[in-house]
Amino acid sequence: MPPRFPGLKQVPLPGGPKNTTYIIRDNYKRHMYAENEVARKALKYLAHNTSLPMKTRLEAQLQLHQMPHYTRPTEIKNRCIESGYGRSVIKEFRVCRIKFRELALKGELPGVRSSSW
């Protein structure tokens, strides 16, 4: 069986405070997508272009399908850069709700303060 994530150890690690398995995997997928982004988009353009002959479009679609799963953009998931948590990540600060609350109360997020009305 081929490895699920070939060359996982060769990819440089992200520089966050904590590297969990899921963060390393996600980082790997981001690198793989970046490498294959041009090819993917070109194939997708050919496959979706209705002015091209059917043969060309089919060939492009098949080649796109043969690319490995880790080159897909949909595999990428935003994770908390502090804790690696994958749910309720606040996009603006890239941290999960738990770390967001901690940091905001410490005053480490610029301008964020407790609000009441």
């Binding site: 988009k41 194939l43 050919l46 002015s51 060939e59 603006e92 301008g111």
Partner: protein, 265 residues
Amino acid sequence: MLSRSLASLAATTRFVGRRYSPALRFYSQSVDDTPVFSEKHLYPAANTFVQSSTTPVPATNRPIPLNVALTDVAVIRHPVIHGDKVAEITLASFMSTKDLDFYADFLLRAAFYLKIPAKGPTPLPRKYKKWTVIRSPFVQAKSKQNFERVTYRRVIKLYDANPEVVQILLSIANKYPLAGVGVKAVLYTNESAEVVDAMDLPSDFELENPLAINKVHLDAADGEVAHKVLELLKDPRFSEELVSEQVQEKSAKKPTEKPAKKDEQ
């Protein structure tokens, strides 16, 4: 005594001159009151001495530079003559309007010394961004906490200046940033209507490649993708004629579905 009499004399002559001199009366009717800001009014003539500092302050016995002394006065502005908006500088801060106004004042003074007509600072509506998060790291999801961030903004509009001068002002803002104040500049330029006409015409490249891709794709930010598309189209696999057998071969390569459980049994 002498000075007082001279002053009164001057006052009377001025009064007489205004009221009774027919030449002056004629002149006052035809005079153009619109402000003239030719070079001789705005700048000193060449090779003339310009005072760059005030007289020495008795306490320190040192003069104060003129531009420092001018900070006591409100910002001086050059009048907008043509009304061509050249740039909009937006300042934004999360914490206070104090820094914002200080920095806006600084930029307006810099604009004055660069002879850029400027308007502002105009306050823009505050931006409120709110987050509601669960208070606890685990369960108790009913108990929440609200956080907010308020963004205060000011706008400075620049008029009638050359793009090079605007760039100098922006480089000043770049060189002397104020902590906690963000600067965003939107620059405006005017183009002739011919540019729009040229955009409608198909280029030579588009006439040569009518189907696959056009020049806009190549020039765009994803020009790399367009070049890759052209490269792929050179491959005979993409251009051969479609044969039904080939389709079957290709589709056979796809991972086939697992046989249903009923068949196994």
